[in-house]
């Protein structure tokens, strides 16, 4: 019985990870956005332009 529970958990976990992996592109920041994020962080204070 426990074996089937483990297999069930394993398959559920696999399903969750696969869905996450297959939809990752929707949650991935673009390189340009990362640049903007960094520039904003470094130039929050001071006289940056």
């Amino acid at each position: 019985m426990i074996t089937y529970v483990c297999i069930g958990i394993l398959l559920l976990f696999l399903g969750y990870l696969c869905i996450r992996a297959l939809t990752i592109h929707k949650h991935t920041p673009l390189p340009d956005d990362l640049d903007k994020q960094l520039l904003h962080a470094f130039n929050k204070e001071g006289d940056g332009r």
């Binding site: 074996t3 483990c6 958990i9 976990f13 390189p31 960094l38 006289d47």
Partner: protein
């Protein structure tokens, strides 16, 4: 006035994205912008790019997930009452790991980018701290190794858009003997206000490397023309810039009045270029530049053989 010194500047390595300049120490987790050196915080030679670090973090999360799956499969095998159950748990575990690894491999670049985003968000303060440390180190070397200081400031200015760092770079560049073969880009050091050192630098660059004088440098001199004229040999600085500007018709068309005001200071070779440019296709949008050039031509070069050959006249 300080004596200018001959120097050799390393070429600036431009990256596609600014964040690619950031390095992280794999030992102390501190950030730096200065590559090819040991970590400025702990001194270890373990600097890697933050992209590489993000890849490592993504791989680590894959490994954790795989381990969890293996653990679940092992539990299944351990508690299996028959060989069939044990075999089933092992087969499902192996298949699950294989499927997950394949999918993860195909989407690894997305996971790496996600990790990179989280890393930047999480370590923002550490990154700023690292950049400040780089700036302090650069300033410490100002007197003994000005070239090194300049190169460090150039790297720092990739991310830190500070007028102060720009002025420091300008001040250092003004102490170097500039050469044509040097990689000089004025765009990143342009200031919003008038700074005599920058005007002098633009004039110097216009003298040794005309190609480096682009729209922003010309615009700066046009905007602060009156202030530049108040400088020692200010008119010469402006003439140098005009001499560089006449290399492209776009600039001549964009600033005809500015060029007209300093056309008389141009050396013969630059004036000939401007004369030929206008004689090929004079345009009404050039204002009184054409008239001014014609007047100078009449005054000085009317009988010059160089002006007769190949030009149709204005």
């Amino acid at each position: 006035m300080t004596k200018k010194q001959p120097v050799t500047l390393l070429p600036y390595h431009k990256t596609t994205y600014r964040y690619q300049k950031l390095k992280i120490c794999n030992h102390c987790r501190q950030y730096t912008l200065i590559a090819d050196e040991p970590c400025p915080h702990c001194g270890r030679d373990q600097l890697i790019s933050i992209e590489k670090k993000a890849e490592q973090l993504a791989q680590r999360s894959t490994a954790i997930h795989v381990l969890l799956m293996i653990a679940a499969a092992l539990l299944g095998i351990l508690f299996g009452e028959t060989f069939l159950q044990m075999g089933l748990a092992a087969a499902v575990g192996a298949a699950a790991v294989a499927v997950y690894v394949i999918i993860r491999e195909r989407t690894k670049s997305f996971f790496a980018m996600k990790e990179l985003g989280q890393l930047i968000e999480r370590d923002e303060a550490k990154m700023i701290e690292g950049l400040f440390r780089n700036w302090e180190d650069a300033i410490e070397l100002w007197k003994t190794e000005p070239v090194n200081t300049y190169e460090r400031l150039r790297e720092i200015s990739t991310l830190q858009r500070s007028e102060m760092i720009r002025i420091q770079q300008i001040a250092l560049l003004n102490t170097f003997i500039l050469r044509k073969d040097m990689e000089i880009d004025l765009e990143p050091i342009m200031l919003r206000h008038f700074e005599p050192m920058l005007a002098e630098l633009i004039g110097e660059v216009a003298k040794v490397k005309r190609d480096a004088i682009k729209e922003h440098a010309i615009k700066y001199m046009v905007n602060y023309e009156i202030e530049v004229l108040e400088l020692n040999q200010g008119d010469q600085l402006l003439a140098q810039v005009v001499g560089a500007a006449v290399r492209m018709r776009t600039y001549v068309e964009a600033y005809p009045n500015f060029i007209a005001r300093y056309a008389r200071y141009l050396p013969k070779e630059r004036f000939l270029r401007l004369y030929n440019m206008l004689s090929r296709s004079a345009s009404s949008s050039l204002g009184h530049l054409t008239d001014e050039v014609y007047r100078i031509y009449k005054e000085r070069y009317q009988w010059d053989a160089d002006f007769q050959s190949g030009s149709k006249g204005l």
